[in-house]
Symmetry: C2
Subunit: 400 residues, 2 copies
């Protein structure tokens, strides 16, 4: 089989990196921002919108799709790509973050997590094996290992406990993932001449899935360093996620942790989970991160808050009432090339659905363009000056 997972580092500018990630459903230029399609849809946006916004990689939530409609339904409808009408690369998280952060009953032991479904209140259990199987069934290009996430301020003992559990779970995820691949390869041979096109396509999507580990350890550098060493000892990975940051700790703590971890990270793609806002993307790329996901662009968009090069704009403000200018004069999205701020404000004041979509679309496009600008700056070995200039305008200050 031809290699389906490849990462080529094209340029660096200090710790900042520009690369090309090859996945079964296409290539992804890094740094990259992934829009979040929690329930198999990026809220208010269609796949055509996402393509128009330049999205190359989309995240979907395993927890949510497991609870509703259930991975078996997604499989019957042709697996996740076909289900949501997205033919470019997909990444699924493991559900770890959700079962540890959503409200309601939760019981953790070494086997896994028993939790309460937010849809029907029923008790369910996720284990490393189950989440690996669910993600295999969904068939995203990249699956994530099941992890134990602790809050930002967790003490050393708590963070150590979660790290140890995450490490044991990683081994089990890796083992189950290998079994599924092996069993697929066997099945695949039997299916070679199968007349049912649909089964073939679904299976092919799954067989080329890769699994990424998640580094935990809270805000404790020694735990993070040890965790990283142990992850790399466990096997060869095609990528690595940094979890458990941006979960309540001060931003400076997150930036500092990334800066100290960076020299120890292997060259593989580095994915900072759940981040973030424009200033976080710039700070993290500056510290060697390649991939990001966050609901901020869509959630803020639905609240009427838009990213612009001069900082966030609240479109509900009365000052926009008769403003004929676009939301962001530098932006090429449908929202900015078609509508005035005055019209967008009207949509929000009149509670029109189109407003939610237009601001979500712009914010997603904004973060994707931001990642693209960073990539270009890295390729011309000028990330530092670019970042300083960007901050001067966005934060109205030269430093952050």
């Amino acid at each position: 089989m031809t290699p389906m997972f490849e990462f080529t580092l094209e340029a660096t500018s200090g710790p900042a990196r520009a690369g090309i990630l090859t996945l079964p459903h296409g290539t992804v230029e890094t740094p990259v921002f992934m829009p979040v399609g929690t329930q198999g849809t990026v809220r208010a946006l269609s796949p055509a919108d996402l393509r128009a916004a330049g999205a190359t990689l989309v995240l979907a939530n395993t927890y949510h799709l497991h609870v509703r409609p259930g991975e078996q339904v997604v499989e019957k409808l042709g697996a996740l790509h076909r289900f949501m009408g997205w033919d470019r690369p997909l990444l699924t998280d493991s559900g770890g973050f959700q079962v540890f952060s959503l409200e309601g009953f939760r019981r953790v032991d070494d086997d896994g997590v028993e939790f309460q479904s937010h849809v029907d209140g029923g008790r369910r259990t996720l284990t490393p094996e189950r989440t690996t199987e669910i993600q295999w069934t969904l068939g995203a290009d990249i699956a994530m290992a099941f992890d134990h996430v602790v809050p930002g301020g967790a003490d050393g003992a708590t963070a150590r406990d979660a790290l140890e559990r995450t490490m044991r779970w990683l081994e089990r995820c890796g083992r189950r993932h290998e079994e599924l691949k092996a069993s697929y390869d066997a099945t695949s041979l039997r299916h070679t001449s199968a007349p049912d096109d649909h089964v073939q396509r679904t299976a092919v999507a799954s067989c080329t899935q890769t699994l990424w580990p998640i580094l935990q350890g809270g805000t404790h550098l020694e735990l993070r360093t040890e965790g990283l060493r142990r992850i790399l000892e466990l096997g060869t990975w095609t990528g690595l996620a940094i979890g458990g940051l941006s979960v309540g700790e001060p931003k400076a703590v997150m930036y500092d942790m990334l800066e100290r971890l960076e020299p120890k990270l292997p060259a593989i793609p580095r994915y900072l989970m759940g981040v973030g806002f424009p200033e976080d993307l710039v700070a993290a790329v500056e510290r060697g991160v390649d991939l990001f996901d966050c609901v901020a662009p869509t959630r803020n968009g639905r609240n009427g808050s838009a990213f612009t090069p001069d900082g966030p704009v609240n479109i509900r403000n009365a000052e926009h009432r008769e403003d004929p200018r676009p939301l962001d004069a530098t932006c090429d999205c449908e929202t900015c090339t078609t509508f005035s701020r005055g019209y967008l404000r009207h949509l929000f004041m009149a509670e029109e659905l189109l407003g939610l979509r237009l601001l979500s679309l712009h914010n997603v496009r904004y973060l994707i363009r931001l990642a693209g600008e960073m990539r270009a700056a890295i390729r011309r070995s000028a990330f530092g000056p670019w970042a300083a200039e960007w901050r001067r305008r966005y934060l109205h200050s030269g430093s952050a």
Copy 2:
């Protein structure tokens, strides 16, 4: 000035007619279905969606835009076309239907209607002159005269009273519309070499507006016949609307009224206001109607109800859970060419915004395609057999 309003009758098939309506912002093939953009946006759809759905003429509500954001704001943002990002023909209603049907305080006298704004509860007054001025300011291709609408079951005296008032108001609307055109022509000469492009464009849009009368008379044929005669005596019109139907009376009563009015109608475009469902469009085209508007496709779409050639489908039904088929296999819209029924059901069960949009888009496309199919059947002089076949499938019966 070149004629901006022209209607060419291309073919007939019994009373059913196929024509071309030329308007300042483009041509419209009839029969035509107009999506309704109540607050300057067709709910959940963008102008690009509407173009993709084949919409050529969109309706916006004068009452709603007057109340919020106010016609002065729309004017400052470049008038209605530019405000809502729609460069094809627009029609504005007069607000008559809204002030007579929305809840809250209302006082009618010969001067006009005092009513309560649904947005801030404040008292406002609409008169024939005011609604004509507001519509002139909005700048749609077609404006409607202010009318007094009575409920479907209104007795003869009530319907007579409303008809008389509607006739007096029509004269005042026509007079005010002529004054505005004359005053524009004078202004226009002064502006010929104006450096401000924006002012020019807005003004040009308004100067080419036409005004259509609305025939009232409830369910009383003699009142309708008299009203029609008096409207035609009042002047030469570029189109004629039939109001006050589909407001609570039985459908058979509406169909019968259209059938009896049809031989008396002039050749100009005939617009049946607020209609309707697929079966109503077919029945009304069969009785000589050319234009329609209705919120049904978007409202029903948001409720999970979709038009299909085999009748309405409720996408929430459990039977669609694992259904890989499109909503409507004959449809070319984004919804039907991209997504399965199972996915669409998931979007509704998970309360995702994309579901509202995808079903609205399909339903609008469905009615526009339906109008196009009727047009084609008329042009090949085969409307009767086409309608019988359509009903056999849609209503599962050969007659309606």
